[in-house]
Amino acid sequence: MMTNPTGKITQGQFSFLPELTDEEIEMQIQYGLDKGFAWSIEYTDDAHPRNTYWEMYGNPMFDLKDAAGVMMEMRECRETFPHHYIRLMAFDSTRGVESITMSFIVNRPPVEPGFTLSRQEIGGRSMRYTTVGVAASKPEGERY
């Protein structure tokens, strides 16, 4: 159990709000599609703050212009990985942006074990810090 005010990992746009309903998720997807973004689904069982590359649930859906289609893919991903973190990410290919423009979590493990901080004392009062996932030492797929 994490002790921050939300009790969960706070990555993404909406982690401080009550979990979004499917209707609310679809509205966010539609907003992105209206802006010309391409949606992508990613999942992981290692949500370390510096784990950049979650697994891709297929390529970004560049040609999918229908929020219902993205929702269908997301539900499939949830069924396949019910205990993983799953996030939706929107890509904007506009020159000068060419990056992610939206990102929020749509699925979480039932219990979020969180992280511990490892401190290595070096050179007087200096310290080397490492954030370690509590469940990360277990094999992939058996973490949550």
Binding site: M2, T3, N4, P5, T6, I9, T10, Q11, Q13, F14, S15, F16, L17, P18, L20, E24, M27, Q28, Y31, A47, H48, P49, R50, T52, M89, A90, R95, G96, V97, E98, S99, I100, T101, M102, S103, F104, G114, F115, T116, L117, R125, S126, M127, R128, Y129, T131, V132
Partner: protein
């Protein structure tokens, strides 16, 4: 006016270079037919000539004193291609509704400036000319830097796009807070504020501009305790966190030493104050580029240049110079908070930070098109007297690419620092969500916030405490834009 011959450039070389004093316009600094080149640096000055000084002569004098002129004729001009070195005033118009003030448009050839040096550019453009006696006052309102010159600058070491990728934070403004009280906290007490704010939900904490290395807290102590707070909060939330470590110091050697220590401790960001000067800013920018560090710029002291409408340098010019010099964050005003700023004018500053190409936008004080030639974008920072109850106004004014800093609005929360951070983060997320759902946040904002407060006690407390606070003073720095053609001189 009764001797028209004196009012134009003297073309006969012998007459032109006879020893003595000529009017600036006779020396070739006034060229009403001049067509600015794409490669020229263009400046718009607001000048207030002394009583009896002709505005055209005053404009020519500004062109002269900011380029090649001295007070008298010198024969050594004739050893040079002096025509191309002279800046040219090419248009003068009265400022609407401000008697005695004139806009003067001046063009500078590219050869006048050293590549990649803000110090050099400013030494010409705001050098001697600002003390020139025939003018009561002079203000550099705007500048167009040609693409050819822009490309000689490296710009922001990280840029707002890459910063978001590094921090893994997208689609919402970032949240910060400045540690308070500004002065007097010990390192240990200071780190407590950092930890509480970040664990509560902020992305960044911040040193204040005058926190360097005073008797109550030496810099190494601050850095050590702050990074303990940052790393603890990162583990507690699973989110990348940062705290702007202010490395401002008396000399470059000391600043480099502090920056190296910040890097060793794993900080993602460091901070400098504007008062360190352009050369130091460019040096620190190089250091940050080499060391994967985000550079936060606190514009301490800018008010001495920017605040008075008749004299100094507009912040939009400072913002352009800072983007070229290379910082990743820049304080650019709040419009709704306790510090100076007309909303449209402030939006103009934000556009300078964030757009690839600024179109002329007189209402927002942007007098020129400015092509940024793919130079990285700067993340503007809104800081000073803002609180959660204004979230809808802030997001409506500034969009997603901004850092909203609530110092008092976090630390002064009745439920404590973590509660203050939660209130701000919940307010932020619920307004972003509502906007994306198509709601009219400017009008429905207060209701959206109140609704969110039903599931979030800290937000309710924040709204109850500060909901009615606003700073409605008249702004001193509005754009005197020309809506219709005004009489030319």
């Amino acid at each position: 006016m009764n001797k028209p011959i004196e009012n134009t450039a003297i073309t006969d070389s012998k007459k032109r270079y006879t020893a003595g004093v000529l009017k600036y316009r006779q020396m070739g600094y006034w060229e009403p037919d001049y067509e600015p080149k794409d490669t020229d640096v263009l400046c718009l000055f607001r000048i207030t000539p002394q009583e009896g000084v002709d505005p055209v002569e005053a404009a020519a004098a500004v062109a002269g004193e900011s380029s090649t002129a001295t007070w008298t004729v010198v024969w050594t001009d004739r050893l040079t291609a002096c025509d191309s070195y002279r800046a040219k005033a090419y248009n003068v118009q009265p400022v609407p509704n401000n008697p005695g003030q004139y806009f003067a448009w001046i063009a500078y050839d590219l050869i006048l400036f050293e590549e990649g040096s803000i110090a050099n550019m400013t030494a010409s453009l705001i050098g001697n000319v600002f003390s020139f006696k025939p003018l009561k006052a002079c203000r550099l309102e705007d500048i167009r830097i040609p693409v050819a010159y822009v490309k000689t600058f490296k710009g922001p070491p990280t840029g707002l796009i890459v910063e978001r990728e590094r921090l893994d934070k997208f689609g919402r403004p970032l949240l910060g807070a400045t540690t308070k009280p500004k002065l007097g906290l010990s390192g240990r007490n200071y780190g407590r504020v950092i930890y509480e704010g970040l664990k509560g939900g902020l992305d960044f904490m911040k040193d204040d501009e005058n926190i360097n290395s005073q008797p109550f807290m030496h810099w190494r102590d601050r850095f050590l305790y702050v990074m303990d707070g940052v790393n603890k909060a990162q583990a507690a939330t699973g989110e990348v966190k940062g705290s702007y470590l202010n490395v401002t110091a008396a000399n470059m050697e000391e600043m480099y030493e502090r920056a190296e220590f910040a890097k060793e401790l794993g900080s993602v960001v460091l901070m400098v104050d504007l008062v360190i000067g352009w050369t130091a800013i460019q040096s620190m920018s190089n250091w940050c580029r080499k060391n994967d560090m985000v550079m936060h710029m606190h514009r301490a002291g800018h008010g001495t240049y920017t605040r008075q409408k008749t004299h100094g340098v507009s912040f939009r010019v400072m913002a352009k110079w800072l983007r070229l010099a290379g910082c990743d964050h820049m304080h650019a005003g709040t419009a709704v908070g306790k510090l100076e700023g007309d909303p449209k004018t402030v939006q103009g500053f934000y556009n300078v930070c964030r757009e690839s190409y600024n179109k002329q936008d007189l209402e927002r004080g942007l007098f020129y098109d400015q092509d940024w030639a793919d130079l990285n974008k700067v993340m503007p920072v809104a800081s000073g007297g803002i609180h959660a109850g204004q979230m809808h106004q802030l997001i409506d004014l500034f969009g997603d690419d901004v850092i909203l800093q609530f110092g008092g609005g976090t630390i002064g929360h009745p439920g404590g620092i973590q509660a203050g951070a939660v209130a701000n983060r919940v307010a932020l997320e619920c307004i972003v969500k509502a906007r994306n759902e198509g709601k009219d946040i400017l009008n429905e904002g207060p209701e959206i916030l109140r609704k969110a407060a039903q599931f979030c006690t800290p937000l309710k407390q924040a709204l109850d405490t500060w909901g009615e606070i606003s700073f409605n003073y008249t702004s001193t720095d509005t754009s005197d834009f020309v809506t219709t053609a005004s009489p030319s001189n």
